[in-house]
Symmetry: C2
Subunit: 106 residues, 2 copies
């Protein structure tokens, strides 16, 4: 089934917010829980949760609970139009990557 132009517009709209696009960029490198995104994006937990909800409703991310934490990961294997675009997103800098590594090892 071919994707409709309306559905594609909805997906682009989700990427059209810099907070969400940054989230997608981070999740394209590795799965993360909400608290990781809150810290990396210097935002609030409800704000990140609400953005994740929108991404999840559109099928762009999937969640997986592990104890208290819920890990989110990108789900775009079946969305080539997004996959290509996301590959052009700037990668995180060294400093930020350091923060990510530190968080992931805790």
């Amino acid at each position: 089934m071919m994707i409709s132009i309306e559905e594609m517009a909805e997906q682009f709209k989700l990427l059209g917010d810099k907070t969400r696009l940054k989230m997608v960029s981070l999740l394209s490198q590795q799965q993360m829980c909400v608290c990781h995104l809150v810290e990396l994006l210097q935002s609030t937990q409800p704000n990140i949760s609400q953005h994740l909800r929108k991404l999840k409703d559109a099928g762009l991310v999937v969640e997986e609970r592990r104890g208290q934490w819920i890990y989110y990961s990108l789900s775009i294997e079946d969305k080539p139009h997004l996959k290509d675009a996301i590959e052009y997103l700037p990668k995180v800098g060294e400093e930020e990557q350091g923060k990510i590594n530190a968080m992931m090892c805790e």
Copy 2:
């Protein structure tokens, strides 16, 4: 110069509206003047003009006057992240293509 994530978000936001995405889809096949888009999208002239203005401000389209008409065409050769995504846009159907051909020959 690498494109920033903010700039990419701005561009995705422009594609995140179904009227504009349809315009981009049509312009990806051939250049058109405002009146063509108005007819094909069954919209009003000011509405189409204002969407074109936003696309132009972001550098996604360029204009070229020919007499009374101003032809717009897509300008994404230098934007690979958009180019790939746009190639996945559904192509117009036979009926619509017929309308386009008829308009272009007048």
